[in-house]
Symmetry: C2
Subunit: 228 residues, 2 copies
């Protein structure tokens, strides 16, 4: 197999190449890579310009979604997998607990992010994925927003008094959680009412890796907003 990333002028096959779009959930993987302090290449793949639907990108990820991560000529998709890869490939960054059950609980939390709040975000912005009748899009959107808000309250309760989402230690679950705070804010939800989740976001904004990535992405949910 040709290295699919070579189309994008990859530096070398063993430098991970992340395909991201500012504002998308790829922010989580982008931050986690930055946290490792190891070399990687971030390739902007603008959803707004349909750059995820070009033949070049569909050769990377036939599902046309971001994030995707190319490593050694192979491509991984899905934040849950990419974030687990980052934490496992760079254990010195300590981005997942060593204890196996605790590690799997982190994977479970990421899977829930991707199959629950993310789905409601999709239903809000792409109601046509769930119904063919245009006249009910607004009903789909309304339900999506209220369900998304329930998920935000659940994340707030999950964080509770803990330092980070999963406990005292920072993990790859944390940048993934940040994605949902940003989306909630941009969707006009009263995220500031969620004390634990807001504290978590403020802590995230103090991390140099997080600030660098948000600035590099000019991330529309955080950049130049006073969230931290």
């Amino acid at each position: 197999m040709t290295n699919p990333a070579s189309t994008y002028g990859g530096q070398s096959a063993d430098v991970p190449m992340l395909f991201f779009s500012p504002g998308a959930c790829s922010l989580a993987s982008h931050i986690a890579l930055e946290e490792t302090g190891r070399p990687y290449q971030a390739v902007e793949t603008l959803l707004s310009k349909n750059q995820h639907q070009t033949p070049e990108y569909l050769a990377i990820n036939p599902r046309g979604r971001v994030p995707a991560l190319a490593v050694d000529g192979k491509v991984m998709t899905e934040n849950t997998a990419i974030l687990t890869w980052i934490a496992t490939a760079f254990p010195e960054a300590e981005l997942l607990p060593e204890d196996l059950v605790e590690r799997m609980r982190c994977i479970a939390q990421m899977a829930w992010f991707s199959n629950t709040p993310h789905i409601f975000q999709r239903a809000k912005f792409r109601p046509y994925r769930f119904v063919d009748r245009e006249d009910v899009y607004d009903d789909i959107r309304a339900k999506a927003v209220s369900s998304y808000w329930e998920c935000m309250q659940e994340i707030d309760a999950l964080i509770g008094d803990k330092q980070w989402t999963m406990g005292d230690a920072y993990t790859v679950v944390d940048p993934y959680a940040l994605v949902f705070y940003g989306w909630g804010t941009s969707n006009g939800l009263p995220m500031r009412d969620l004390a634990s989740f807001t504290r978590h976001t403020e802590q995230m904004m103090e991390r140099p890796a997080v600030r660098r990535v948000i600035e590099r992405e000019k991330n529309p949910h955080f950049w130049s907003k006073r969230l931290g």
Copy 2:
């Protein structure tokens, strides 16, 4: 913390206790545990009798979903995490590739199962999760069925000429794939037209662990049906 599984008369904390409902996606985790040949306890938690909404079960999994797996007094949820735990805790069963990227590609495929076809199955059976207007439930269901069918075609193409879903080796992704074949059949979709996916299901039915679990669950999608 009290061992949450003790409510259910667990044998001992180090025997994994799986909470499943026949017909639910917990079939995947149930089969994978059986494949290891190691002791475990399977606790029927009937969704049809709301046994996933009892205070006892909500103490296990506050989200009220199956599967859940209790190990050493801790609970994991989500097939993606439970299946990864099974493969990692029992490496001699060889249920995930050793190569890290290949392993993560398996996790990505499981995440996609849970955030794409599973969502359409949910939309078909629980349209009220996506809209409050009862008069459009049938429109939601119709879209869900056609999107589910697209996913089935994608799984069929993914299997293609490979022996198993992810390659020549059987992995935990395979019992998870089986769940969707069973749902597709019960939903009246022409699953037999999908040659690769049908061959995959037939191969699954030849595995003693699969047959034992389907019989134990009296799994409504497979048991006493001629699918193998």
